[in-house]
Symmetry: C2
Subunit: 211 residues, 2 copies
DNA sequence: TTGAATTTTCAATATTTTCTGAAAGCTTAG
DNA sequence: CTAAGCTTTCAGAAAATATTGAAAATTCAA
């Protein structure tokens, strides 16, 4: 590997002539994706790594990722493993090459479907399991029985609502991601909502983060 | 106000005879909800507070909440404020009473719709805004132009996918929560997935994150 | 098998987020 | 106006999470 020990330029990814503007755009996206991720409870570097692989169509090796994102080897390793587990990036080893390369799922809808499925597993399934255990034995007697029934009714209502959403999502995020897109489009039509090509800022001062 | 100054009993919520089994069930639910919340990136105590108010049909005052959940006054205050901002609990002051009482939205679908809307605002809207800024000026020239186009295409694809989902969710989570339920049911039908009126344990060993 | 090129693991460290508690701020009765 | 009763604020403590870095493990060519 022809890299001098004095080498300190971070541009491992691209040999000499880099398109700086393009790189800057990519960096903006990486930052944005990382930023969003923290709101979704996903570690920043995990999202950044994914973003890098997503915008960089050719597969990258660990070294390049480390350098472009300025993260440690250990972090890169764990992060990549996580992403592979989630199924949104894949390892690619090639004969003649010792190191592994990684590439991201490029299809947006498949990406979404995969993420949705992962979240469902982590966030919905345990809820469904747990809810049944939150009921209380009904005694059937007077006022105590009534209170208990009310409680159970509440739990049941919650349970069936979650089940409904769960069932739907299960069908729509199946494997190829087609379902998700279909669902979105179907729904859009259903309400007569046509997706505009151009975005319109209907409301500007939305939020209320207070202070 | 008939409370002696020596009064120190913590049982503000329930006078003497409490249904311990019921309380235990409620606690299980509170714990479960709190547990789930941490996976969704919501502070545990925020979720627990909401859970308590959700299972406890009558309004509760801050003191009761603090004691039942064993949290500090400050935490309770901030937490309640958050929940009120999210729109899933409401303050209720009453003449003759100095303290405030809180009660949770009891309708599950409205609850979901509200939460969905809040998340959309925090997690989707900033993404939409940010994405446009991630494009790169197309030069239109040779290979550099091609790379740039590819990048922009990717961003556009992402953008329109997010917009589609966003638009749909916007319509379906509007205010009353009816939309969400409607959507879920509609989708369920669309794929031939019939929601049973009575819960049926189709799969028992639901399985899970199987290693 | 050896050893050079990688990747993985994990204890230690850094960072971020959440919670506490005490003091300051309101509001209303008197 | 003053005081009692409640609520909010916020700096710092505590807890939870994320990241590093270097040693150990793995892999493969020779």
């Amino acid at each position: 590997m022809p890299r001098s020990p004095t080498d300190s330029t971070p541009a491992t990814v691209t040999p000499p002539a880099v398109d700086l503007e393009l790189a800057a755009s990519q960096d903006r996206f990486i930052a944005l994706w990382g930023e969003m991720a923290s709101r979704w409870g996903v570690p920043r570097t995990v999202a950044e790594t994914h973003a890098l692989l997503f915008v960089h169509s050719e597969p990258l090796d660990v070294e390049s990722i480390m350098q472009r994102l300025r993260i440690s080897r250990g972090n890169a390793s764990m992060t990549l493993r996580t992403l592979v587990e989630w199924g949104i990036i894949s390892r690619q080893m090639q004969r003649g090459e010792r190191r592994e390369f990684f590439r991201a799922e490029q299809d947006v809808w498949r990406l979404f479907a995969t993420v949705a499925r992962a979240r469902k597993r982590r966030e919905i399934d345990p809820l469904l399991e747990g809810l049944v255990g939150c009921r209380v034995a009904s005694t059937g007697r007077g006022r105590e029985g009534t209170q208990r029934s009310t409680h159970n009714d509440r739990m049941d209502e919650l349970l069936s609502a979650v089940r409904l959403l769960d069932g739907v999502s299960e069908r729509f995020t199946a494997a190829d991601g087609r379902g998700l897109r279909t669902a979105a489009v179907a729904l859009a039509k259903l309400v007569g909502f046509i997706v505009p090509a151009q975005k319109r800022a209907e409301r500007s001062g939305i939020r209320g983060g207070g202070t």
